[in-house]
Symmetry: D3
Subunit: 221 residues, 6 copies
């Protein structure tokens, strides 16, 4: 099974690390595709965008290693995504070549326009990757799109039980970013939030997404 995560900026991937890591542990392939290097991030003060880009690309590569995932960067500009055709084609090329079964991305209503654009471009790419005149050799298998959860989107929620082992990787990733950025949000709060999501679905730790259609359970426990 092949899982692709498409995000605009390094650190957007935190919400899916446990799921990716758990799948990698059982032998599945994972890749994270960042559309930009997040070079406009506010936390770097006067540092040049090029230098910020270099550092944040390094972050992404480090995180991918923690998860056991491949890392890939496209060259779009931070805070300039549109969700339009060019971005969709670039993502579709990756899909056509890498052939994912599941794709993760942001939701379509987030406050950051890059996040919303990532959703729409990824959605278009699910179609474009099937059209030979756009991508050459197409990717024809069904691909399921999962996006980060929002309570104002009336689609089925998908809770993934990340287990202790997926949670451990997610905490490692979180702590890596937290240490670097000196976030106020604590590891305890991070864990408590994911434990609460787990409790909602009767497991220890969960990550939550949404899909257009429900997923079937193999068994009820």
């Amino acid at each position: 099974m092949r899982l692709l995560a498409v995000f605009p900026h390094p650190d957007d991937e935190i919400g899916v690390c446990g799921t990716l890591a758990k799948h990698v542990m059982r032998g599945d392939a994972a890749r994270i595709l960042w559309l930009t290097r997040g070079e406009l991030a506010s936390q770097f003060g006067q540092m040049s965008p090029e230098e910020v880009a270099r550092i944040r690309e390094g972050h992404g590569r480090t995180v991918a290693q923690m998860i056991g995932a491949e890392a890939q960067f496209l060259d779009f500009a931070d805070s300039s995504l549109t969700g339009g055709r060019e971005e969709a084609l670039a993502i579709a090329q990756v899909m056509a070549a890498w052939k994912p079964d599941v794709v993760f991305t942001w939701n379509p209503y987030d406050v950051h326009p890059d996040h919303r654009a990532a959703y729409w471009a990824t959605l278009s790419a699910l179609k474009f990757c099937r059209i030979p005149k756009l991508v050459g050799q197409p990717h024809r298998k069904p691909v399921r799109l999962l996006h980060y959860y929002r309570s104002d989107i009336p689609r089925p929620a998908v809770y993934v039980d990340v287990g202790e082992e997926g949670q451990a990787v997610a905490e490692q990733v979180f702590s890596f970013y937290r240490d670097f950025y000196q976030w106020e949000y604590s590891l305890e709060a991070f864990r408590a939030n994911r434990s609460r999501l787990g409790a909602e679905a009767s497991v220890k730790f969960a990550e939550r997404f949404q899909a257009e259609a429900p997923l079937a359970l193999p068994y009820l426990g």
Copy 2:
């Protein structure tokens, strides 16, 4: 794992047969608890309620055998259920003794008052079975309640992938009743409907329920 299905009348259980059978096949325990023997059924013409009760109890026991489940009957009267305390206590006694992990029943808005009553009495029983002063030795583990699906209830849908093997048992049960009652609804239509539910959740055949809270997936495929 232990699965209990609570229904007022023999043949109400058709929608859960695939799920029960699939669980039984992997070694789980299943029981079907009928609250009445359905003695007012219209299809028996002038036959006495006692005779109808005897035949329909036989139906239930036959179906339970097809599934590999236990069969149990309570002695409430058909079309007289209220969803009240007496019924709840009787179901709670069964729960306290049999200790299910998952309980299935009708939804709370169906047109048949016995169906609605089964839901409310079963819901109450989930509480009563934890109270020693009502049931003696209580059943204290968490129990998940799944009810038949209705589009006008805003709760998460739960799709169970019943697989070819669960579907085969469900078709056997359906055909058994269909032959007896001479239903117009064909096996092909039965299969098509369950195949459509499966397609909604990207599997071959599914049964659909609803729960108060979501269930977590161990993996995404």
Copy 3:
């Protein structure tokens, strides 16, 4: 086509008068079935319940005449309905005998317990009227249940274009009650509200109900 309205008290029927009247005008049959005579109404001061019952039964019969509908009264006690088996059986008997195609009633969440009870008993009656052992000769045709609208019930809204002619009858009924009870709510407000409902559905005047399932339009205008 045959339309039956089931309500606990005379004056509950105001919200369906335009629909009934418009159908009667094209030759359909309508009946209003009151479960009680509303003998506890507050507006009659010290008058005995028997006297109030007599007056309010007269109101119902007058209104039925305005609409061109039959009037029928059952003998349940005001503010004592339970929604249980006895009420359901009584309504089912009426249905089995009169054989409606459409049934109207209150919604299941109204503040008045008689209103809620009318819904549940009517819903049960839809099932009971099909069971010979309960009603003798059964009513087997599909019957559609429409209940008064509530925004917190996630079921399809059904707007009926009552036209000028249905509106005229509804206003006559409203004015009849308003004059008797000296309601503060004016005819202008009554008309404005129904005009607003109409505007929501692009017609002049509408009545609004809810159904479990959608109704199909023969044409789009």
Copy 4:
């Protein structure tokens, strides 16, 4: 302003203590009406129901004092509520005499049948308290009903900012019960949960209810 909370068992009131306390602090009147004394509670072992009732009534009175509210007990039996007419009339008598502006109670779908019954009986009481033939001198002012929140009820959520001062009382009440019952749920978890509710609505601590209709804000901050 007068606030009445109607619950079946002492300790059900925990979710509304902050709101009641904050209102009492500004001079409003509050009363908690318990329908039973919760004499079947499991945590008392072999103790007689009469003795449990005595102790739990004491709990309620202690909590009411912490809040600055009046305490009142009706004599219904624990785990035997039906939501029917007798209970509704008893609550309506209290409403007619005490004349609340706002009433709090459980939601209508909770697992405990007493909780559901409290909702339905309280809802009926809102109507019955306006009918002189049922309660004598009626309570005719509009009364707003707020029930405990459930995510599967499509009604507007009402968040009350309980402030530090309301939170302090709620924590005192919680700790009182926690110490007595030796609950595993910690004060920290209690506070974290209410802090999270507050965060959802951009305040420090909140209690959450639902109402049939929205409430208007006087200002946006």
Copy 5:
């Protein structure tokens, strides 16, 4: 009455053929407006986009004839729609000239960006066609927009009873495309799906759309 369907590609119109045909049969006017000729379609192998465009325009014209509708093509490029101003103005010009009462199009969340763009451009056109400075002679009558159904859009569903006669045309259109493209999806499955939609709304065959506002029924059957 005048019905306009706006779609990006020939064959997108399949879901509205029964409705258009039924209206045409009673004397209403219908037009299908395609924004592109679908020249990137995958099923044509190495054929040049120009040749594909020529063939698919022919398809559209054939289908329009089957329905009794006018056919019109705009010259936008396949898989390049943006939903922006240029497209909206072009559609608005058609609306201003042709003056539809009802407009059909795709929904706003479909996976194909051209489908989503068709929705947004058509929605804008409903406004632009009323502005003389944009379209010259404006179209000022109210126009109702109906889009293809999606379960994750909380708008009223609109079921149109297409009748045997509308269904026959829809099947003719479907079979025409199916034969050409050698789709796996069978005529039986096509019919079964539309029969199921019909069953949901108690008619034989239905097409399903969504609208911002409900439509009123003239009668209940």
Copy 6:
């Protein structure tokens, strides 16, 4: 407290005038930011866009004075908004400089593309105004976004009690525009609609918005 309203055209602000005015009366600061001057408005006949722009800018400034708000105009072109980066940056600059606590705008699904664009650009601006590399000195405080209400957006409704005094200003603004444009919609209808919104939330007059998250009430009345 500082309230910013962002709209494409003068007269879009009518729905928020009461809220702004009431806040201004208690000493809060309000500003209305128009993105265009609405120079394509149909009601000005052959008048040049420049002349229309001049007149409508005057309207906006007059209305702002009635409210006691500041007026600001950006120089985008009417009916050409895209919701894209340029517009978002322009609004973000205003936010960074003026530092609002609450921002009002159109909803994201309105028929006019400028209205939708205003929503998306304003949403992006909430993010951009926090990024120094985009706006220089950032605005880092939390900002709440309220948009005009639509029933097909599943977000909490926010009713603001505008009081008699806010209503008076809103009526003054409405009448100003009505007199100028000779609208058919009467002041009585305007008042009735706002009175109905008020009634929904148990106050005299209300304006209704939606927010991503609920707002907490300080007290229940």
